[in-house]
Structure formats: C-alpha cells, structure tokens
C-alpha cells in the first residue's frame, strides 16, 4: 500500500471531498503543484481550474473556481471559492452595499414626514369623533 495523505476539499456551502489519497494536484497561482505525503507545509492561492486526486492509480477530478491550498505534513486542505472572485467585483459589491445604506438613510427623512402626517391624521380623526359625539348629544 502506497503512502497516503488526507485530503479535504471544502467550499463555503458544501464539502466536496474528504479522504485518503496518494497524491493531489492543483493549479496554484505560480503554476501546477503536485502534493505527495510528507510535503513541507505550504500555503498558496489557487487559480480557477481543476484539482485532481490520485487514488489506487486512478484519478478523480474536481473543478474549483479559485481558493486556498494548505499543506500540513499529513493533511491537505483545499478551501474552494464558490464563485469566481476578482478584486473589482468585490469592490462593486462593497459599493452597492454602501449605496443601499445611504439610500435607506435618505429615506429616513421621508419616514419622518410620514410619521408627522400620521400624527396629524390621528388628530384630525379625534376632532371628527368629538364633533360627531357633540351632534349625537344634541339629537337626544
């Protein structure tokens, strides 16, 4: 039996693979890496591409859209991203979240007017009610 190494491939919303394999290959940002048991600790980013594992001479493939690869002597962890990520896309998302917040802060002013209008309406209704009561009183 060949030496094996434990591999976990996980993404934020699911576990993709977990088990013992003979080797794992991934496309890191600096080029393709192949990890065999007792590899030195390593931490690297992954490019979008495939991750291959070697088990009993057979290969299995997974696709990851980027992520992080951590190597410990007996365990390899691949933290896969669930979506393609780029700095400018992240930036756009941040700007959108900010703009949304500003919009609801602006609406705060509108809400105030609404509250004021509500109070005025309540006052008017109270007046109407008292007028009605006075009328009824006269009718008796």
């Amino acid at each position: 039996m060949a030496m094996t190494i434990h591999v976990d491939i996980v993404s934020a919303d699911t576990s993709i693979y977990s088990g013992l394999v003979e080797a794992v290959f991934a496309s890191a940002v600096m080029g393709e890496v192949g990890i065999y048991p007792r590899h030195t600790p390593m931490l690297t980013r992954l490019k979008p591409g495939e991750v291959r594992i070697l088990l009993n001479g057979k290969q299995e493939q997974f696709y990851v859209s980027g992520g992080i690869l951590e190597v410990q002597p007996n365990i390899v962890t691949i933290l896969a991203d669930t979506a393609l990520r780029a700095d400018d896309i992240d930036e756009a998302a941040a700007l959108e979240a900010k703009a949304d917040a500003e919009r609801s802060l602006n609406e705060r002013g509108a809400k105030m007017e609404y509250a004021e209008a509500q109070i005025k309406l309540a006052e008017a209704m109270a007046q109407l009610r008292s007028i009605e009561r006075m009328r009824k009183g006269k009718g008796h």
Partner: protein, 288 residues
C-alpha cells in the same frame, strides 16, 4: 350581548386566521429542516478554515497581518447585525436588537463611536430609525443565501478596518441551539485572536508561501471573516424558521382556544333565545 350571527362570523374569521397560521407553521417546519441541513453543510468549511488560521497562529511568518494585531487604542467599533428579512417569527429579531443595543450602549458609554452594517430587512429598518451610522446593508437574501452575496457588506467593514476607520469588528446573530432555543450572540471578528499554541505545534516552523506571505494571508483572512459571517447568516435563517414555527404553533393554539370560547357563548345565546321563545308561546297559550 352579541347576537348569534355576529358570533358566527367572528368564529369563521378566526378559523380563517387559524388556517393561515397553521399553514405558516408547516412551511416553517419544512424550511427549518432545510436550513439545518444547509447549516451542517457549511460547517466543514468553517472548521477547516478555522484550523488553517490556528496553524497560522503557530507558524512564525515574517509578515504579521493587520487582522491579527491588536490595536493599541480603540476609537470606533463596527458591528455587523444579522436579522431576518421577514417578520412573524416571535421575538427573535427584537431580542437580538436588544442584545445588540446593550452592547453598543456600553461601547458608547466608553466614549467610542459605532458603525453598523446590517444584513436583513428587519435590522435595516430598525437601525435605520436610530441615530447611528449605517455604513452598509444587504437585504433580500432569501432562504438559501450564497456566500458571495455577503461580500459587499463584509468588504465595507474590512476596508474600514484596514484604513483604520474602525478598530474592532463584531458580529451579532442568533445561534441555533435547538428548535426551542436560540441564543443571541455577539462575537468579535477583528482583531482575530487565535488561541495559544499547543506544545506539539510550538516548535519553530513556517509555511512556504506562494507567491508571498502577504498576498496569501490577505486572501486567507478575508475568506476567514467572510466564512464566519456566512455561517452566522445561515444559522440565523435556521433560527428564524424555528422561531416562526414555534410562534405560529402558539398562534394556532390560541386561535383554537378563542374558537372554543366563542362556540360556548354562541351555544348559550342560541339556547337562551329558544327558551325565551318557548316561554313566550306557553305564556301566549295560557292567556288564551
């Protein structure tokens, strides 16, 4: 006393309400199961990335990331508050906001300023009404949010932290204990404080970083914070469904009690009117 017809319409309307609450209860129950499964599915990533961060704390990198360093002085703190988008889920959101406000108040009492980023409609409308600084918001996540939908909200806070605008960051969310119990939680995200190294890991070693330590660590720590927030959001959804299920169950039960009471009143009124009619007829016959 209300007449027979009035009581009948009242009973009918309560029955309709009961149908709605019962349907909502069943929907919430099935959604809760799915949310719990989703919670379980996100756990491997959270534990793995936590392990990596732990390892990293034991390693001796030449580059210390800004997220891992304590700041000497804190002037402004950030909060990410997670809530549901929809109401009718008992006191879940209000209890959470109360906990958040208490925490925020202690910070303000210490002379600190507060920035808030909200996730979910309820938090947005609650904190939107208060005189606080709202820096970001994400709403309408639905029942199955994807991790990348949260990036914007998280990045706003991380950018603020990096630029020194805020000096620490907290996440406020509901932790799912079981169907009946949800716990309000305030956890510190930044600066991330790893546990002390254990003896076996404390010998001097370091990773090989590709391309370099700074780039990898920047990337990793952003993912770590994002995963914590995502986990919080997913857990909050499970809490929302559980809490809605319980609230709707008690609403259905209360509607049942009301119907029973009204039915009794209705029967009594009906009987009384029959008795009266009979006595009138008898009296009339006796007079003849």
């Amino acid at each position: 006393m209300a007449s027979g017809k009035e009581i009948r319409t009242q009973i009918a309307s309560i029955k309709n309400t009961q149908k709605i609450t019962r349907a909502m209860e069943m929907v919430a129950a099935s959604k809760m199961r799915k949310a719990q499964e989703r919670m379980a599915a996100t756990r491997p990533y959270a534990t793995k990335i936590h392990n990596v961060i732990q390892h990293l704390a034991f390693a001796h990198p030449e580059y210390k990331h800004v997220y891992l360093q304590d700041r000497a002085e804190t002037k402004r703190v950030g909060y990410i508050v997670v809530s549901s988008d929809r109401g009718l889920c008992g006191g879940l959101n209000n209890n959470l906001f109360k906990t958040a406000l208490k925490d925020i108040k202690t910070k303000i009492d210490q002379g600190l300023e507060v920035d808030i980023c909200t996730i979910g409609k309820k938090a947005t409308s609650f904190f939107g009404r208060l005189p606080v600084n709202l820096t970001g918001q994400v709403v309408q996540l639905g029942d199955a949010p994807r991790p990348h939908e949260l990036i914007g909200a998280v990045k706003v806070m991380l950018d603020a932290y990096e630029s020194g605008h805020i000096d620490s960051l907290y996440l406020v969310f509901n932790e799912f204990v079981n169907t009946m119990t949800q716990k309000n939680k305030v956890v510190q995200l930044l600066p991330a404080a790893p546990e002390k190294p254990s003896a076996e890991m404390s010998h001097h070693w370091d990773y090989i970083y590709e391309p370099d330590a700074k780039e990898v660590l920047d990337h990793l720590l952003v993912r770590y914070i994002e995963s914590l927030v995502y986990q919080g959001v997913v857990e909050n959804i499970a809490c929302e469904q559980a809490s809605r299920m319980v609230a709707m169950k008690s609403a259905s039960d209360n509607a049942g009690d009301l119907i029973d009471d009204l039915q009794l009143v209705y029967n009594k009124a009906r009987q009384a009117s029959i008795t009266q009619e009979i006595s009138e007829i008898v009296a009339g016959a006796a007079a003849v």
